[in-house]
């Protein structure tokens, strides 16, 4: 059997003397997307940060297939004074140095921001900033097999939501995997799984 992109065993995390989750085990195979759901404060963001390696305070085992990952936090992680293109160029220099810069134009086009390359990000709307942030996904593509997305649908319009869904589907078809949080109920489709944190069905 193919090794999953990510395996989590017996994960337990406490925060401020409150157990967020205990005995949590799951795996993300290639070609699957896992939607994390749960009420506010259930630990969705903390779980994503643990999986990204940004939160070392946990017990249990997290093993990730080698290779870079794409992590988009709930902030767009853009420098407001820099243009969309400069922000993405810096991201590329961190994640995939040596990549042809023309890929940036393509990625911005993909997220519906063609023509906004040279606009400082602080002049963009919240939804447009989210799109610039999401342009990292087509930029890296399958070079980052695992995507961890914290509330990727925030501030997006209907077409933006459809865009993220398409990006996820393409990534899955290419053999990638993703874990994302959202409160949005998504249409069931093959390869989309749901993991509830906290009490199931509560919202």
């Amino acid at each position: 059997m193919e090794t999953p992109l990510l395996t989590v065993r017996q994960l337990r995390c406490e925060r401020d003397e409150r157990v967020l989750f205990a005995d949590l085990s799951f795996a993300v195979a290639r070609g699957t997307a896992l939607q994390l759901r749960g009420p506010n404060g259930a630990g969705k963001t903390t779980l994503l940060r643990i999986l990204a390696g940004l939160h070392p305070d946990y017990e249990g085992e997290v093993s990730r297939a080698p290779g870079p990952l794409a992590y988009l936090g709930h902030r767009p992680a853009l420098s407001g004074l820099l243009t969309a293109e400069e922000n993405l160029a810096h991201y590329l220099s961190l994640t995939a140095p040596g990549t042809d810069a023309s890929a940036i134009t393509g990625a911005l086009e993909r997220v519906g921001l063609a023509g906004y390359e040279a606009v400082p990000c602080q002049a963009l709307s919240a939804g447009q900033q989210r799109r610039v942030s999401l342009a990292r996904l087509p930029l890296l593509g399958i070079a980052a097999p695992l995507w961890l997305l914290d509330e990727p649908f925030t501030a997006l319009d209907d077409r933006g939501i459809a865009l993220v869904t398409t990006l996820l589907e393409e990534h899955q078809a290419a053999g990638g995997g993703a874990i994302f949080t959202t409160h949005q109920p998504l249409a069931p489709r093959p390869g989309l799984e749901t993991l509830w944190l906290g009490s199931e069905g509560a919202s």
Binding site: Y71, P76, S79, H90, S93
Partner: protein, 226 residues
């Protein structure tokens, strides 16, 4: 080509950021100039009074102006979430840190050093001390930025870390201040200044190879606890 790519990628980004908000780096410099211009007005315009104080005033103003520029060194990156991406992907982080500090020094320490001869003349700094003091600032300001960067990284998660930052780094700045001022005293007394300048150079070299690691560590902790 991971490491040069990391360094130059960060250098280009921070350089572009610095050019787009010139006030951020110009403020500490303006502070430096203001303090020094006020001194002859407030104390005395007499050369005899000013000359013995000149080197000390230059160094104290340089030190405080460096401190002024430090607080924002990593703050914006943390607030925007770019620090998270940097810690996540910028492995090894020290090279990105070095690029950031280099841009910061080019915007604060270097212009301050270049202005020092002219401002020194205004403070009646003795002729023979002018170039030794400037050389001292050229070697000393990188130490201030490097050590100050450690303090800035340690206090980046704090809402109002300014006073704590000053308390953390000022004691570390004091040896630099003492060495820097003694360069002028030696020069005025006609003694060789090279040994003290060599001490400052050694300090700069030591700070250059240690401080970026401490800064990278502190930034990682800031992201992990944030």
């Amino acid at each position: 080509m991971k490491i040069p790519g990391l360094f130059w990628g960060q250098f280009r980004r921070d350089g572009a950021l610095a050019l787009r908000q010139p006030g951020e780096l110009a403020n500490p410099l303006a502070f430096f100039v203001l303090v020094i211009t006020l001194f002859p007005l407030g104390v005395s315009p007499e050369s005899a009074v000013l000359a013995p104080l000149a080197a000390g005033v230059l160094w104290i103003a340089a030190l405080l102006s460096t401190l002024l520029g430090l607080e924002g060194l990593f703050r914006r990156d943390r607030d925007e979430g770019t620090l998270e991406q940097l810690v996540l992907h910028g492995d090894p982080l020290v090279f990105a840190v070095l690029a950031r500090l280099l841009v910061h020094w080019l915007g604060t320490g270097l212009p301050l050093t270049l202005l020092a001869p002219a401002l020194g003349a205004m403070l009646a700094l003795p002729e023979e001390a002018r170039w030794p003091v400037t050389a001292g600032l050229a070697l000393g300001t990188p130490i201030l930025v490097l050590l100050g960067g450690v303090g800035a990284a340690l206090t980046v998660s704090l809402r109002s870390g300014g006073v704590l930052l000053a308390l953390l780094v000022l004691p570390l700045f004091i040896p630099v201040l003492i060495l820097g001022v003694s360069v002028a005293e030696l020069a005025v007394a006609g003694l060789p200044t090279a040994p003290v300048l060599a001490w400052l150079g050694a300090g700069a070299a030591l700070a250059l190879v240690t401080a970026p690691f401490a800064i990278a560590g502190a930034l990682s902790i800031a992201v992990e606890t944030g």
